[in-house]
């Protein structure tokens, strides 16, 4: 299958590993990946912060970039939620019939990463190997807007060697919330403290999610708590795609996720 990748601006800039994992995994599964180079952003940051005018051209150019794509994968539940919940609404509010047609044509071709693997590709076992204890944080947008349900858990349980351990208060927001994290930084971090308590209770080595944004929040909190001292025993946030991309031949390791090595 020919699959177009929409990486999302923040993954592109901050979490290239996730994109690489998606590409490598899909190729390993025998698919062809296309990355339209002119893609940038889904418009969510602007739209959700109230900059509705500014979001509009971003939405239009994104759909334009993926006009010819049959299947689009997005390793960011939040961006997919933006598309499904707001694109039609934006076209409606702008009274733009042409855009509405484009949106209706665009949306059925979009798959969040775990949706693509389970629904479109029909897999729960992708031949991954990851012999670690992993917990899962259902990001709010994947849980309540996309309703991905147990898809990610099924995928985790399909990984050889992986020991999945559920998290108490899993459905509780991590406090990220886009610009909320900076506009209400203090409350956001109080929410994060609660989330981290739940993450710690699992005694997992890794916490997985479908959104690097939430993971950045959790990672930022865990790193601050550790005071930057030592990486031993620190819980590593990691996108589900990176776990599924881990194999016996090319295993994902905790060390490879350490902070200093990335910027070394």
């Amino acid at each position: 299958m020919r699959i177009h990748l929409f990486i999302a601006c923040y993954n592109d800039t901050l979490f290239p590993r996730t994109g690489m994992a998606v590409v490598n995994l899909l190729e390993r599964l025998g698919h062809e990946v296309v990355f339209p180079l002119a893609q940038t952003c889904c418009g969510q940051m602007h739209y959700n912060t109230g900059y509705h005018q500014e979001a509009m051209p971003l939405v239009k150019r994104l759909m334009e970039e993926f006009r010819d794509a049959e299947t689009i994968v997005v390793p960011s539940a939040s961006c997919v939620a933006m598309m499904r919940d707001h694109y039609e609404l934006m076209a409606h509010n702008a009274n733009d019939a042409r855009m509405m047609e484009e949106v209706k044509d665009f949306l059925p071709r979009v798959f969040e990463f775990s949706e693509l693997i389970t629904d479109k590709l029909g897999l729960t076992d992708v031949g991954a190997y990851f012999p670690h204890k992993v917990t899962y944080h259902p990001s709010c947008h994947s849980l309540r807007l996309l309703h991905v349900g147990d898809r990610p858990i099924r995928l985790l349980n399909g990984v050889e060697g992986l020991q999945y351990t559920p998290m108490e208060g899993a459905d509780q927001c991590c406090g990220f919330g886009g610009t909320f994290a900076v506009k209400n930084a203090e409350v956001s971090s109080a929410m994060l403290t609660d989330k981290i308590t739940c993450v710690r209770k699992t005694s997992a080595e890794f916490v997985a999610a479908l959104d690097n944004s939430c993971l950045m929040q959790i990672d930022g909190g865990l790193h601050r708590e550790s005071g930057g001292r030592g990486t031993e025993g620190r819980i590593r946030p990691v996108h589900l795609a990176e776990i599924l991309n881990s194999t016996k031949a090319n295993p994902l390791t905790a060390e490879s996720l350490a902070w200093d090595e990335v910027s070394a």
Partner: protein, 486 residues
């Protein structure tokens, strides 16, 4: 017109109020405990309802329908209420409603021959909204709040921190102190039971002697002209039954078409609000019943900003609210801050959309941003108000206002957002910016993390670490290693 929502106009922005509360560990513990308890009870009572979603759908449809035909239903309610011996008054705003109430109370007191005007009140958020108690006091009328939590709030000269359990920020020791002082007691136990019995004795005389009652309304039924008040303690029954004169303050959005529609709302409300299959008491009455209860009955239909929410579906839908408080109990933001951070008697997610709209957005502009848009509120809302969408809609209005002002247009956020949008529209410049950020971050980088970032990003690095940008963006990796096949 002077639309007013409590003392909201004088309050600071949400982040500033939240900052104070986050330091108050006792309040935070109290809020957390209370919301955890109600949340669990609600979940239990909702899970046993296989038709919960169908009930929500019906409730949303009834409310939506009613609002679209509101003039029809309001007039029908008015006609039927008057036919049953009630009197209906209309108030455009808080001051008008208070003036009507004061006039009615003074006339009733005179008729009853009481020298000191007093009223007994059953919990009504709407009266808090219009600042009724202070308006009454200014006119030498003593209001007695009779709901236990409202009484605690009134005694403490405090403000409600929750729509359903307004005193949840106080623990029993704090309540005991208030009761000892205000009830002039010398002895009082420390258990909730002791405190509740003290309230029973304290208020009993008032229920039997005060000749004027004030209530809100959970529902006003157009078909019959009836009012329905939902409660648990029996103070509501006392207030609407024992006085000779009863005044009900009713927001215009409280009207429902038919009596039978209660079959939907009286299932959704108690389970959502307190996690009960049914609350202990519902009182439904129509005008005046000879030989039973108040022989003089007034309804004040209140606008106070509601009508201007009716031109847009997102705003109109806010008026679906039946004040169950379920959204507060599940909100991760409310859980940290409690109600007082919202600077409005309507707090939590519903407060964050209701207060700025009632206030016309001049005040409480920070409230639409007091949410991580996690969606838990929408999931539990029994009348399916899409609160996250409404928050985003209101954020749009805030930005629009900003962009029409010089200071707003050149604000750091406004400029930043414009710049980001420009970059996202121009991929080459966007790529250049990615490279520039990587080079520029050296100024702020320390041990692989970014510290003391300037501007809005400072909000991030104040509380969390931020990993330095990786050496290669995804697209750089792609160009280097993959390239699209032709």
């Amino acid at each position: 017109m002077s639309v007013r929502v409590g003392h909201t106009a004088e309050k600071s922005a949400f982040p500033i109020l939240a900052h104070e509360i986050l330091k108050d560990q006792q309040t935070r513990r109290n809020v957390r405990h209370a919301t955890d308890v109600i949340r669990a009870k609600r979940a239990l009572r909702v899970e046993e309802m296989p038709d919960w979603q169908e009930l929500r759908t019906a409730a949303h449809a009834i409310k939506t329908h009613t609002l679209l035909h509101l003039p029809h239903y309001l007039q029908q309610f008015e006609k039927n209420c008057i036919a049953a011996g009630g009197q209906v008054h209309w108030a455009r705003d808080a001051d008008e409603a208070n003036a009507i109430a004061i006039r009615l109370i003074q006339a009733a007191a005179k008729k009853q021959g009481t020298s000191i005007a007093e009223v007994i009140k059953v919990k009504t958020m709407t009266s808090d909204e219009i600042g009724m108690n202070s308006a009454l006091e200014k006119n030498n009328i003593t209001p007695w709040e009779t709901d236990l939590a409202d009484m605690i709030v009134q005694m403490g000269n405090d403000e409600p921190s929750h729509i359903v359990v307004p005193a949840l920020h106080k623990n029993r020791h704090q309540v005991r102190e208030l009761f000892l002082e205000h009830m002039k007691l010398t002895e009082l136990g420390t258990e909730a039971e002791d405190l509740t019995q003290a309230a029973r004795h304290y208020l009993r005389k008032k229920f039997l002697e005060v000749g004027i009652g004030i209530s809100g309304a959970n529902f006003a039924i157009a078909e019959t002209g009836s009012i329905c008040v939902v409660e648990s303690e029996g103070n509501g029954r006392m207030c609407v039954t024992m006085p000779q004169t009863l005044i009900s303050l009713v927001g215009i959005e409280k009207v429902i078409p038919k009596f039978q529609d209660l079959e939907v709302f009286l299932q959704l409300l108690p389970r959502s609000a307190t996690g009960e299959r049914m609350n202990p008491y519902n009182s439904i009455w129509t005008g005046v019943e000879p030989g039973d209860g108040p022989q003089e009955f007034h309804v004040i239909l209140l606008d106070n900003g509601r009508t201007r929410m009716m031109a847009n579906v997102r705003e109109r839908e806010t008026l679906n609210c039946i004040r169950c408080g379920a959204c507060l109990n599940v909100c991760p933001v409310y859980r940290e801050t409690g109600g007082h951070a919202y600077g409005s008697i309507y707090s939590g997610p519903i407060g964050a959309i209701l207060s700025p709209q009632l206030n016309g957005m001049q005040h409480s502009r920070s409230l639409p941003y007091a949410s991580s848009l996690c969606g838990a509120c929408y999931e539990v809302c029994p009348v399916k108000i899409n609160i996250p969408e409404t928050l985003i809609h209101l954020r749009g209005k805030v930005v629009e206002q900003d962009q029409n002002s010089i200071t707003g247009m050149f604000s750091q956020e406004g400029m930043g957002m414009k710049m980001a949008a420009h970059l996202f529209e121009h991929p080459r410049q966007y790529e250049a910016a990615q490279r520039l950020a990587r080079t520029g971050q050296g100024l702020f980088e320390k041990d692989g993390k970014l510290v003391n970032l300037p501007g809005m990003a400072a909000g991030w690095t104040q509380f969390r670490d931020l990993r330095a940008l990786p050496q290669q963006t995804f697209r750089e990796w792609w160009k280097q290693n993959k390239r699209n096949k032709a």
